[in-house]
Symmetry: C2
Subunit: 558 residues, 2 copies
């Protein structure tokens, strides 16, 4: 069997990603390229995060009675009002979160962090919070990049965070039906470690995999880097146990197919903690692949590459589709070549000679049993070559796989060096892919330059559907004097471009606080009313993760 | 290209299926087998439906003002209070419906039948009905077998039926993204006829295909006979336009993938007209297959056959799975052999010599482009033979395909001959398939015999999932003196067995009135509350298809 690269990383340091000791640094070459591209006077590491002792945080407002009831529910040692616990749970890992916490602002921290061990304990906690009017935010890996785990108070004075880390067991495995049930707090590598002895994998590897949890996957409809092959989390999930203020709800069932009314499971999947707390879920699993075949092809442009991938999806045999399929635009390809050293520089020159002056590189990974992966690659190669692809060998795909989870570390260093970096994603049909790509890209570039700065945008496709593909944008610029305002400005410009293109405000990052203002444009005012009606049924007091998913007037901590 | 057998049949005669002139009759051989198996004194056709002139129907209760408003909305000629229109819309095509209507009971008929031409007209009709308290049932092909189109009045005095037949256009085709938008009243063959000139098919062929409509597919989460290959209707649909009393709701979007909150589309798909009227929908389409390969294999038992199919699903290449995959149990196989004439009798003897005394026959159909279907069949054959399958050639699968839509006609003749016949379906994981099969089968057999009769149950698998398969039961017995009571008794016994097995009350027939009492056992009391909350948002007056989907106290016509 092929070992999946699923090493669990330490829980993130309070101001950034994972354990800084595990981070790889940007090379001198990369720094030179970066400062030249962004026209920065300096990229020296002179903007470190604040010292932990200087972080500003309010006094917890929970009174003794409330704390006593919460401690009765979960045990005294699992209800923390410690400063570090509260700081670590004051937000997720969006660039906005990092800009704020690195500046020493943890004023949004919860009043207590609770570490429950069971659905029953969570039920008791919710009863206490509903009765007393305390906002509740569930926290898995804490990797939200859209404000999903910010412990907002909504209309309440107090807020707690439920850290799910103690609920980390595989509860059931049905190898014959290929399903497994996990507690919500199990992290990505823990899921794989539980399945591997039985020869199975979930196949779900988002970039946050090493830190994110099963509950987070399900709550956010996450997609993984291999979701083209294995399916998104919303494809994999069969049933969910949700604890709500109105009681427990088991959505979905063991039945493999049903017509028993609307699929209520899909009301809970993607509900981002706003209806209740996911405590466990049953998902489909598959055998760990025994073989992998890697390949890459270069195209004359992003448009040409996207067309090749569409043909691969439409003209290839259905079983031949690669599990991983990524197409970088010319900008992202240029970055890869610039940062990859002499070998990739030579590759760039070769492609230029072959007529691809600004190539767009596509990476593929076929996973499966025995040698069929090679046959699938061979048949796919015919289509890709016919579509103008120049084969560039397996190394770029292997290199990508090697570093597939390390991206988030770089952001910490970039911010320390005064470089703003953010990502966002959408998806579009094959018909509208090109226009959506250009509209969003140009909106970001224009907004980045609004205050005189120089920005850089690169993009890739990483999820392939019958009807279209995802679009993922990474953008960089020097941090302006008001980084939070800069962030808000560019995000708003990009979001408006996505709405204007008629596309989705998020392909796999979910809604959180950041996308809530745009949800109405996507699902309509009546669609929002439906969400509110569901929330009112399950969470009549409105304590669950206020301010996320459903746009609402929220009362922030002063 | 392979021509799809998708001939539109005439709209059903008021007391049964389609145009009786198109029905094939049971052979003398079949009648002998039937009377012997069910131990019936006679199967003479002495129980014809009532004469149309004798059908009992109430006076329409809509007053002149209400009729005037409805006529203003849709045009005078499209608001009918004609006796035949009302009779034809008094119910669907369940055996219960037929027992009632054949006995001359159309007392449940709607007060008017309205034939709207647009979403706007439906919006106006709903406004009139909400203001005046008139129940509204949408009616596509009228093929519901679960009471889904019975125009119940709920708490209201009057009821209308919206017949969607005039809304029968393809509105948009995107060949590049492989999606198409249809009005809801377009029937199955009309969908195919609209797509075929462009080289596409929806691939959705339920047994009711020749009469059912797109709106019905989406409203009921229907599965087709080739859904193992093409996907169920709930897999195919991308977005839906729903007219509700609270206004129009567009659920879903063009985005091929999204994480923008819960998938509200799945609240509307399967909502069975209880939240509003589906007026159009966008679905994924695929190229019409150019090649088909047929095959059949026989197994020593249903259990052995199911295990072989599980291995085919799990061990075969993902692209090799047949589009159609059906496994009959020994009883259904015996019926097929008995009714198939000398050739199939010889096949039965051959299998007996090969050690399969009570064989279970599996039929397969691979569809696709060029010769790959043959290669897929060849690779699949290895797995099926290794699992104990004896190849029995392509003819049984071809014969099945030839008669795939004709089954419902037989029921009319059987009822005329005093033979009760009904079907129901569920699904189960591979792990629980065998126990669910036996539990439901035995519950039906026991209940059929409760009043001294002799029953016959046959079953098949027709939809394959990664985690399990569907189970479809057909059962027959002589009609008792109170056929409706007999029907209710057996259905209840089977439903209780399904609930006890922890399975789903319906795999593809939907909920309607018949399964509503069992929905709570499947989705929980809180799940029902969620449905009620959604209905309250979209249909606050409760006029939409009362008594269906959500169990409720209903006020029936006296």
């Amino acid at each position: 069997m092929v070992t999946q690269n699923t090493v669990e990383i330490p829980r993130s340091v309070w101001y950034g990603w994972g354990d800084p000791a595990h981070a790889t640094s940007l090379s001198a070459n990369a720094l030179t390229y970066l400062s030249a591209t962004l026209k920065l006077a300096s990229v020296k590491p002179v903007h470190p995060p604040a010292d932990i002792t200087e972080v500003r945080i309010g006094e917890p407002v929970l009174n003794a009675e409330a704390l006593a009831e919460l401690r009765a529910a979960c045990g005294t040692e699992y209800v923390s009002t410690e400063r570090l616990d509260r700081i670590e749970h004051s937000g997720g890992k969006s660039t906005e979160d990092l800009l704020r916490i690195r500046a020493g602002d943890a004023l949004g921290a919860p009043d207590a962090v609770i570490f429950p061990a069971s659905s029953e304990e969570i039920r008791e906690v919710l009863a206490v919070c509903a009765a007393r009017g305390i906002a509740v935010t569930a926290f898995g890996g804490g990797t939200s990049v859209v404000g999903g785990v910010s412990p907002l108070r909504g209309t309440f004075d107090a807020a707690i965070t439920l850290d799910m880390r103690r609920m980390n067991k595989m509860l059931h495995l049905d190898p014959r039906s290929r399903t497994a049930t996990f507690e919500a707090g199990l992290r990505g590598p823990g899921i794989e470690a539980a399945l591997e002895p039985h020869g199975f994998t979930l196949g779900h590897f988002p970039q946050s995999h090493q830190e994110a949890t099963l509950g987070g996957y399900v709550a956010t409809r996450s997609a993984g880097q291999a979701s083209t092959g294995y399916g998104r989390s919303d494809d994999l999930v069969k049933s969910v146990h949700l604890e709500t203020p109105a009681g427990p709800l088991v959505a979905g069932s063991t039945a493999p197919g049903t017509a028993a009314g609307p699929k209520l499971l899909d009301v809970i999947v993607g509900s981002e903690g706003a209806f209740g707390v996911i405590t466990s879920a049953t998902l489909k699993i598959v055998p760990v692949p025994t073989h992998k075949s890697y390949g890459s092809w270069s195209f004359a442009s992003f448009t040409a590459g996207a067309e090749a991938i569409r043909r691969l999806r439409h003209e290839g045999l259905s079983g031949d589709l690669p599990h991983v399929c990524r197409l970088s635009d010319s900008d992202e390809t240029a970055s890869t070549f610039k940062l990859g050293g002499p070998k990739t520089a030579a590759l760039g020159k070769y492609l230029s000679v072959r007529g691809q002056a600004t190539p767009a590189l596509a990476l593929f990974l076929w996973e499966g049993a025995t040698k069929e992966t090679a046959a699938r690659k061979r048949r796919s190669a015919r289509i890709l070559r016919a579509a103008g692809g120049i084969p560039t060998g397996p190394i770029p795909a292997r290199a990508w796989e090697h570093g597939r989870f390390s991206g988030p570390y770089l952001r910490d260093e970039l911010l320390t060096r005064g470089v703003y970096v953010e990502t966002l994603e959408t998806s579009a049909t094959w018909t509208s892919l090109d226009s959506t790509y250009h509209a969003v890209r140009e909106a970001i570039l224009k907004s980045l330059a609004e205050h005189g700065g120089t920005g850089y945008v690169q993009s890739h496709i990483s999820h392939i559907y019958p009807d279209g593909a995802s679009l993922y944008f990474t953008y960089l610029a020097g941090v302006e004097s008001d980084g939070l305002a800069q962030h808000a400005r560019v995000k708003q410009a990009a979001s408006k471009a996505i709405v204007a293109a008629g596309s989705t405000i998020t392909h796999h990052h979910s809604v959180g606080t950041d996308h809530a203002p745009y949800l109405g444009a996507e699902i309509g005012a009546l669609g929002l009313d439906v969400l509110r009606g569901i929330k009112n049924t399950l969470d009549p007091a409105g304590i669950m993760n206020p301010g996320k998913l459903i746009p609402a007037a929220i009362k922030e901590q002063p």
